[in-house]
């Protein structure tokens, strides 16, 4: 399901299946994008932040067009105890790899992988930048 912001329109409530994972996409070239995500976060139930929320930063290939600092996004992700993925959608290889990662995470969030729960994402939060 794709939405441009939260909360989701209520007229479709009855058509919506259970939500297993929420991915917030932030376009690194748009400050508006970050702001939109920040306001939408307020509408997410606290239970989701136990591993069922993920931030996806797109457009990282465009080094000259960055409007948001990655630091700001990482701080946001830390505040909400959720992982951040960086990708460039314009590159097919990275796009496919990112999709596979998200799919894997989704399988875990939906409980399809026995023995692994979404809670383990929280403990895997340390990224290679932290030393």
């Amino acid at each position: 399901h794709l939405a441009t912001s939260l909360p989701l329109p209520s007229e479709r409530d009855h058509l919506r299946p259970r939500i297993d994972m929420v991915v917030f996409m932030i376009d690194i070239t748009s400050k508006y994008s970050l702001k939109n995500v920040e306001t939408s976060l307020a509408h997410v139930d606290a239970n989701f932040f136990l591993g069922k929320v993920c931030f996806l930063v797109t457009g990282v290939g465009r080094v000259n067009a960055c409007s948001i600092e990655t630091n700001a996004v990482c701080k946001l992700a830390e505040a909400y105890c959720s992982p951040v993925l960086f990708c460039e959608l314009e590159l097919e290889g990275i796009r496919a790899a990112t999709a596979q990662r998200l799919l894997r995470m989704l399988q875990i969030c939906a409980g399809h992988i026995p023995g692994v729960s979404a809670l383990s994402f929280v403990s895997l939060m340390r990224n290679s930048n932290d030393d």
Binding site: L2, A3, T4, L8, P9, E11, N36
Partner: protein
């Protein structure tokens, strides 16, 4: 042949991209087909231009012919120049039959009566456009061929497109000559400028697709917001919001391609409104600032703002009024109405 003419022709040829030189010379028609055959268009441009000058020497080219070549180049590369739009007003008499010979005579006459040292060249094109090239001199100096003014006039319309040379002092004389020659009473500059001459024409001749109130609003094929995304596994939660944005966008911009403008400039002379606690400006004076939007294709980018989620719909009327008000330079003052034109 005059040395200055030779140099001018040489430089004009040098401006042309190498694979277009032959075509432009053919359009020019001054050199015979036989002469053109003798030219080697595969060598360096420097050499090509020298050979062209040589041939022009044989044919005794004068400034008239050189100016004609310059018009041809500038007609093809019209988008390199910045064009302003002027509107003429009739004296209220009935339409007179437009006589091109009369127009040329009056135009030349009016300019020459004020300034002897000018080069005036005319060329008519199939779309009823009359191109006029004027190279300006002074009472003591010969015309500067490298800084001419260009005028494009469609005789069936009251609009004139001018790409003035840097010497702005000649503009009043040029305008006067235009109204005298075309039997109009007055001429004024519109607040509309762009590099794309065709887009300016589209705007003032109203050739772009405008949005008219439809008699019965019915879903148009354009309402399927993402036709290529027929993947049924993707559910768009905000479909109704997207459709609303799309509809508002259509109302503001119409469905066709937008005229090509590079700038929109807003000169604000309004009171600064801020949180009283911030107390930014002690004096209650209007805050003057200039807001300029620039883009390779401004109107298309404005049109994409709301569908891309970068701005809220509907867009400010200050942005959407550009085409139907035929202006991209605005002065905004503090008044009862939200917007005042100068």
């Amino acid at each position: 042949m005059d040395e200055t003419v030779a140099e001018y022709i040489r430089r004009t040829v040098l401006k042309m991209p190498r694979d277009e030189i032959k075509m432009m010379l053919q359009k020019w028609g001054f050199l015979s087909e036989a002469q053109l055959q003798t030219l080697n268009f595969h060598q360096q441009k420097d050499n090509i231009s020298q050979e062209v000058v040589q041939l022009c020497e044989e044919n005794s080219a004068g400034i008239k012919q050189a100016a004609a070549l310059d018009i041809i180049y500038n007609h093809i590369y019209q988008n390199k120049r910045m064009w302003s739009v002027y509107q003429m007003k009739k004296s209220g008499e009935e339409e007179e039959y437009f006589d091109i010979a009369d127009f040329k005579k009056k135009f030349k006459g009016r300019i020459r009566s004020a300034l002897k040292n000018v080069t005036i060249t005319f060329k008519e094109y199939e779309d009823n456009a009359i191109w006029i090239r004027v190279a300006w001199g002074t009472p003591h100096k010969k015309p500067n061929q490298y800084k001419p003014s260009y005028v494009v006039y469609h005789s069936q319309t009251p609009y004139v497109f001018i790409s003035a040379s840097v010497l702005k002092s000649n503009l009043p004389l040029l305008c006067q000559a235009l109204i005298v020659a075309s039997n109009y009473r007055d001429i004024r500059e519109m607040e509309l400028r762009s590099h794309s001459l065709n887009s300016l024409k589209d705007i003032v001749f109203k050739r772009y697709s405008q949005n008219f109130q439809t008699y019965s609003p019915k879903p148009v094929q354009g309402w399927n917001v993402e036709p290529e995304n027929a993947d049924r596994r993707i559910v768009h939660e905000n479909r109704s919001a997207k459709e609303r944005i799309h509809r508002l966008n259509q109302e503001s911009f119409g469905c066709g391609p937008q005229p090509k403008l590079e700038f929109a400039q807003y000169r604000l002379d309004t009171m600064f409104k801020s949180d009283p606690k911030m107390d930014v400006l002690d004096k209650k004076e209007p805050f003057r600032c200039l807001v300029k939007f620039s883009s390779p294709h401004l109107l298309e980018s404005l049109k994409s703002l709301t569908p891309l989620g970068m701005a809220d719909a509907p867009l400010s009327p200050l942005l959407t009024c550009i085409t139907h008000k035929a202006r991209n330079y605005f002065k905004i003052r503090e008044k009862k109405e939200s917007f005042v034109s100068p």
